[in-house]
Symmetry: C2
Subunit: 320 residues, 2 copies
């Protein structure tokens, strides 16, 4: 069985902790795979120093630093340390990545690495994700990419993107799953004390309503909703608060916030519920009543739609 070469691209500003973590992860997975000597490929991880101003890699690990120039089957773009990479810096690298992808190389990004990935143009019309705080920035720079920051990892077959500073664990495990099989993946996860992939970014992202749209009437409605925590979201009430006709409020509210009034109110209620679940001990039924649902079933359904977890699951995961 041939070796499988995984390259980690240290572009200018790349975050080293993720890069090193990934090499460790693949190292561990490779050892586990060797022990169970299936007919699986041997993993070889290399770090590729893309441009000049990159700090030197530590020479600690002999296996991880095979710096010959054999082509990699997978190239990983780690997160960026601070702001996402600028287009002018990215351009030459993007061209190089495009070539590699043309030769059949798989590309993967983590968090801010998605910006470099998008600069290649290969994401046009395809799905991708990145950290939720980058969402607006990304959509502005790459309007033709279908960004979905609710998900933690989007697998497009030859292109994978993962969102979030620590999502390199999920990405790494997903690659291990693909190349070395689910059993090795599960064992690697146990060895590293990481939960197997399958979570979503929206578990963590919360609700941050847009308030900078400049539509004063809509803002009035938003403030009203905020004030009573989304409990009274009747269209008539909101229209009166905003001083607009119902149909007009509906339209302008959507344009300004990206959400309908009920969606907005529901998200507020869910956010309140998340807080109560995380920091309190009230039973779910009580919480559903607290946030404005007299029926716990209805509340559960809404909660699950936005968070991706049932209230109980959420409490389990986030209540210390």
């Amino acid at each position: 069985m041939e070796d499988l070469r995984i390259g980690i691209v240290l572009y200018p500003g790349a975050q080293l902790s993720a890069a090193l973590g990934l090499t460790d992860l693949f190292l561990i997975a490779g050892r586990i795979a060797e022990r169970s000597d299936q007919g699986v490929p041997r993993l070889r991880v290399q770090t590729l120093q893309a441009c000049e101003p990159v700090p030197p890699m530590p020479a600690g690990d002999p296996e991880a630093s095979g710096h010959d120039n054999a082509p990699c089957q997978v190239l990983i773009l780690p997160p960026s340390l601070e702001a996402p990479i600028q287009p002018d810096v990215a351009a030459p690298l993007a061209a190089w990545l495009r070539e590699r992808h043309g030769e059949g190389t798989m590309l993967a990004s983590v968090c801010g690495g998605a910006f470099l990935l998008a600069e290649t143009g290969l994401l046009s019309g395809r799905g991708a994700t990145t950290h939720w705080t980058y969402a607006e920035d990304f959509r502005e720079r790459f309007p033709d990419v279908a960004l979905d920051t609710d998900r933690l990892i989007i697998d497009g077959g030859d292109i994978i993107s993962a969102g979030g500073l620590m999502s390199w664990t999920d990405l790494g495990l997903k690659l291990v799953d693909r190349f070395l099989g689910p059993v090795v993946m599960a064992q690697t996860a146990r060895m590293m004390l990481v939960d197997p992939p399958g979570r979503e970014q929206r578990y963590y992202s919360g609700f941050a309503p847009r308030l900078t749209h400049g539509d004063a009437a809509v803002l009035k409605a938003q403030h009203f909703l905020q004030a009573n925590e989304g409990r009274d979201a009747r269209l008539a009430t909101l229209a009166e608060e905003a001083g607009l006709e119902e149909r007009t409020l509906l339209r302008r509210f959507q344009k300004a916030t990206g959400l309908t009034t009920t969606e907005y109110a529901q998200r507020l209620r869910v956010a309140k519920a998340q807080e109560l679940l995380q920091f309190g001990r009230l039973p779910v039924e009580r919480i559903s009543w607290e946030v404005g649902y007299s029926d716990a079933g209805a509340f559960r359904k809404i909660f699950h739609r936005y968070v991706g977890l049932t209230p109980g699951e959420y409490r389990q995961r986030f209540h210390a």
Copy 2:
């Protein structure tokens, strides 16, 4: 409010990914704390190059590399890259750490870093943890330390140890919780897409019975238990299989495996149940029957005792 100095000790063989990850974590936590400008201290993270053969730290982050020699309130010992640190290498560092601790500095270790921590002698008679694969090694080298690899993190106030390659996230968040408060901690966890601390190592460690003790009669009993997956663990049967008197079997079994026969059988059944929960979809009641319990309530209790989670919780966490 005074600055809080956190030092990450790069001893020879220390794993950089955890060290860098921790500086990132504290950086993020610090920013979140600043934004909500409570009266909390400012975090200053420094990496301390303990001895010669350590690769240079990347100069990427100005805040993280304040290399003045002010004393730190906390010193963190990251995991070791490969084998745990050797006593002769550790000795001078251990002495230095002992001095710092004497001055009131808090010490924390991650995974293999616990060996260096133990070399200081400060763990004598106290509790600590490390990665479960190091358990035997550690107990042999430091028999006077109360090692508990079931737990992920053991907080002894002035000395904290965490077990597992990735447990630096839990350690970091715990420190953030202590110094910057629970709210900043929760926000940091969300930002980093990490679950808040509270998990235990035994969720992941599974059951790896001792088979190298060299007691052939006990081995026969073990193989018998393995063969029927712990369903028949009657002492009479086992004694006959091993060719030993019942009382003798009990004594030798405990000495060789560290467990009683019933404990051993229960762990086997629980391990089988874990597999069924992870890879199958049977309801818990069916599984409890499959592994040999006619009463689901009893099964639940046993399962929780060994794993630390109820069967349902376990399925939620590990079933993809």
